[in-house]
Symmetry: C2
Subunit: 194 residues, 2 copies
């Protein structure tokens, strides 16, 4: 129990460090210090920095999936309204960080997917799950006749995930909410309109 508690704590602290500084710039020593554990014990909990990064990605993906599930759940609101809400929910989060940090899945894809098959598989799986959660809501809209012709729910779900990731890339160059607002305007004002 204590062992699991410490490991979870190191993952929590490490997640923030990786989101703030990037994976390559985050040292095992820094994470251990920030978590208040001896550097040597870091390797008691994680066999390598890569194994630590895998745990961080999994934690981030699980938290994101839970938040999304709550936002996308049927509350009587139409499917496209719930979909929009699930993206809009990120805006205050990024406003609070001054439009830094971005999405850990995208960051790890950029920093590490070319170099670690294990991490690539982790982010790939997380993106696929995210896409599936959006597809379910888009399929609901499709059934109600609310999707434009020719846009299949699965392809559109993938496009939303990808375009959102790109909005976050540009957000960091601009340090502004504008790329996210543009995403919302184009997707919900132009693309997902019958």
């Amino acid at each position: 129990m204590v062992r699991d508690g410490v490991r979870e704590h190191v993952i929590d602290v490490g997640l923030q460090a990786v989101l703030t500084g990037g994976l390559n710039a985050t040292g095992v020593k820094d994470v251990a210090e920030a978590a208040g554990v001896p550097k040597g014990s870091f390797y008691y909990y994680f066999s390598s920095k890569e194994a630590f990064a895998e745990a961080v990605v999994d934690r981030y993906a699980r938290a994101g999936a839970e938040e999304r599930a709550a936002l996308l759940a049927d509350t009587g609101a139409p499917p496209l309204a719930r979909l929009r809400r699930a993206f809009e929910a990120y805006l205050p989060v990024f406003e609070a960080t001054g439009y830094t940090g971005g999405c850990l899945l995208g960051n790890v894809s950029v920093e590490a997917a070319d170099h670690s098959e294990a991490l690539r598989e982790r982010v790939r799986t997380a993106f696929t799950a995210w896409q599936a959660s959006l597809r379910a809501v888009l399929a609901e809209a499709e059934t109600r006749g609310e999707l434009p012709d020719g846009l299949g729910a699965d392809a559109m779900a993938a496009f939303l995930v990808n375009a959102w990731e790109g909005a976050l890339v540009r957000m960091r160059a601009e340090r502004s909410a504008e790329p996210m607002r543009l995403f919302l305007d184009v997707i919900f004002g132009q693309v997902l309109v019958r």
Copy 2:
């Protein structure tokens, strides 16, 4: 002349190293060795690693702008066909790298924009110039009545840049051309259709 030639050579070698390995993982020592110059002389050409990275971003942005200008130039083809061609031209490039590497502007945004105001300004400027080159072609389509109502050329140009960057993030997680093909299908088959 010799000095400039060596500096340009170090930037060339460094650009490939940064695109392959990422900015944080690319050491000054490695770049100097790969370029065949003593590490000490690296700092004769660049005051810091950040100054080197700025030169790499500028080089990448300039080369990209030249390639795009040639692809977007009026050759008798309609504007939206030229626009599509300018994106399609990246596909064989990424096929050759096994869908790794991505876009240096996006990579530096993710890795460094939060931490270096100079690099953030560099990538911001390069994205703005890219967007302007796409806007010009979209404005031409607009004049010909080939853009759907409600999509302004400037907003659409920004959306294309951002969504493309996201397709490249996902490309690296999937190690596949699929996210780029999806971008082309959705943008040119659904969004930019009257």
